[in-house]
């Protein structure tokens, strides 16, 4: 195959986010699993310098992030849009104490969604953050992942801000519901 025929590989956006978090010295990563986050979760699990914590519900990660900061560490929370509503009351902790906070949210219910039960919380996700004072970034293109994660980390940890990066469902790819033979 000639070099010019080589397809351009899709940017490895989970790796780009991971590298930005490493550059920002993030030392704790907590999550409620989502298929869209599975590669980033694996990267964190394979890194002995990052303490990973699996949560039973998303608001635990808001409180854990605050505790990490009290102890001098930077934490990040990974979740799906369906869990954002669970966090609303706990987000008041961030506002009351001006804690830094960084979360990456894989979106459901917005692009080629098959499951109608995902749609209401997906539609409400940006507003749910914004009513609690969280700044919302939208990641639509994989090639922007590293730069956006770095900017979000800087704004969170250096300016004591709560930041949510919403990763679009179109970018991740809609969940497959039929087995491909």
């Amino acid at each position: 195959m000639a070099a010019s025929d080589t397809p351009i590989p899709a940017p490895d956006w989970p790796l780009a986010i991971y590298q930005a978090l490493k550059a920002a010295d993030v030392r704790q990563l907590c999550y409620v699993p989502d298929a869209g986050h599975s590669r980033l979760i694996r990267l964190a699990h394979d890194d002995p310098a990052i303490a990973t914590t699996v949560l039973t519900t998303e608001e635990e990660g808001v409180a854990l992030s605050a505790g990490a900061w009290l102890g001098g560490q930077r934490a990040v929370l990974l979740m799906q849009s369906s869990g954002v509503g669970n966090c609303v009351n706990m987000l008041s902790l961030l506002a009351s104490c001006r804690f830094p906070f960084l979360t990456f949210v894989t979106m459901r219910g917005e692009w080629a969604e098959f499951n109608p039960w995902q749609v209401p919380m997906g539609k409400a996700t940006p507003a749910a953050f914004e009513i609690m004072g969280v700044t919302v970034f939208r990641l639509e293109r994989p090639e922007d992942a590293g730069e956006m994660a770095a900017a979000a980390a800087r704004l969170a940890y250096d300016s004591d801000q709560p930041i949510a990066v919403l990763i679009s469902q179109r970018m991740i790819g809609a969940k497959k519901w039929t087995e491909e033979k």
């Binding site: 409180a63 854990l64 605050a66 505790g67 990490a68 009351n89 706990m90 902790l93």
Partner: protein, 194 residues
Amino acid sequence: MMRATLDRRTAVKALLQNRGDLLVVSGLGSSSYDVFAAGDHDANFYLWGAMGGAAMIGLGLALAQPSRPVAVITGDGEQLMGLGSLATIAAKKPRNLAIVVLDNAHFGETGMQMSHSGLGARLELIATGAGFPSASTIEDGAALDAFRPKLHDLSGPHFARVAIATDHVDRALPARDGVFLKNRFRGHLGFPVS
């Protein structure tokens, strides 16, 4: 269930005597008042909100400061709102974390309605079932004295349910400004204000 007789202020003061390098997170309401009344300290982080979050704040702190013992002192109602966090902590097994629940079987701040622990929930069994390797029930001063070294032994995670009386105690109100409390706590650990 026998009627609990331990006074909450006496119990918390006993747990925090000779506290050394213990870091303390207190759950909203009476638990924060008890920890403050035992002696204000830069290494105390008093919650006035974030109900259900005290144990998880303790976990994040314990993971960040593995050489320092961390105690979360909270109430039955506060812990009941975050029962899942007991499973999260037990899965992570931080050796330097203790969760101490002051259990009067009531929601004391809101009119003394009976709580789930008063209606039959056994918090120490829930902690054991969640996977805590160490879960104690404390009903008198001797048991408090026996438990106190566990706050410092870095062999946790420990869970303790302290059965306390429902008798009224006077309010003792710590500072409420969250930014101040955060910066004071981080200053104690040597981190500068940003």
